[in-house]
Amino acid sequence: MTDLRIAAVGDIHLGEDVRGQYRKKLDGIEDRADVFMLAGDLTRHGTLEEGKVVADELRGLPIPVVAVLGNHDYHSDLQYEIASELRDAGVIVLDDDGVVVQCGDKKLGVVGGKGFGGGFAGKCASEFGEREIKNFVSHTRHIAEAWKVALKEIVADHRVVLSHYSPIKETLEGEPHEIYPFLGSYLLAEAVDTAGADLILHGHAHKGSEKGMTPGGIRVRNVALPVLGRAYCVYCLDCEDDMQSHEG
């Protein structure tokens, strides 16, 4: 059985001053991975000019590219225009939906979107009180429900969830506890645990840590570039010849 190799990174935060620099680091990615996934915060300020830089850096890569947007990409209220630029460059942009990517003889289902916050079980906001708080929590709840439906509907050999916000607090270790509610929500993990997946990738927490798992035992990886310290990481699913996990 062949490995299914997923290259992933988040929070590349490209601006016009670094045009062309990230692309150089993607040279040869087709030899290392079958698909490239980007976990949001592709731009700094969410401007269309930055969106075009990102689109140009990703255009014409020899493997499928799947991306979600992050909070920075929403900052200028141009998220739909940025997504459109990326799609024109051949990038699959998920917005609380799913896609099936053919990777060799395998079908990889990818479900996801930006995600959102709210906090983690026992220390989270509830849909109670002021309309603003209810809107905050219900935004995450709607997203989680959409992911659950998409995961249940998708037909593939493997399923991966791609998010910007974190589904668990374990991969936030290193961040101040006070801002955890703005970094993710347990509702995302609960939805994925209910529907099932092989791996969850997220970004957003620059000072967090790479590895964790959901209460249901699904592996979670924080692929924010400052956490990885590398242009991207490669995760292999279905490794029959080498079952050993390379920790550390």
Binding site: D3, R5, A7, H13, D17, V18, Y22, K25, R32, R44, H45, H72, H75, D198, L199, H206, K207, R219, R221, L225, P226, L228, G229, R230, A231, Y232, C233, V234, Y235, C236, L237, C239, D242, M243, Q244, S245, H246, E247
Partner: protein
Amino acid sequence: MEAPQYVAARVQQALAEDGRTHELGIRVDIRGDQLFLRGQVSGAEQRERLGQVAHEVAPELHVHNEINVVEASAPGEDEHLD
């Protein structure tokens, strides 16, 4: 005299909201008339912009820009998820 905690909060907010920086994860500490910036960014220009914005928001303080610039290296070893 304004409490240093409020000044630090105002600087941190400016670093996040100023169009030149939009950097959320920078720690701001004030001791006396010294202001310390700590964290990681991906480029030297961004570090300089953060120092400039902090100086503009708190011109009475001496800004120590201790932010590190981290370059993304080439991808390393793959992780096999069995």
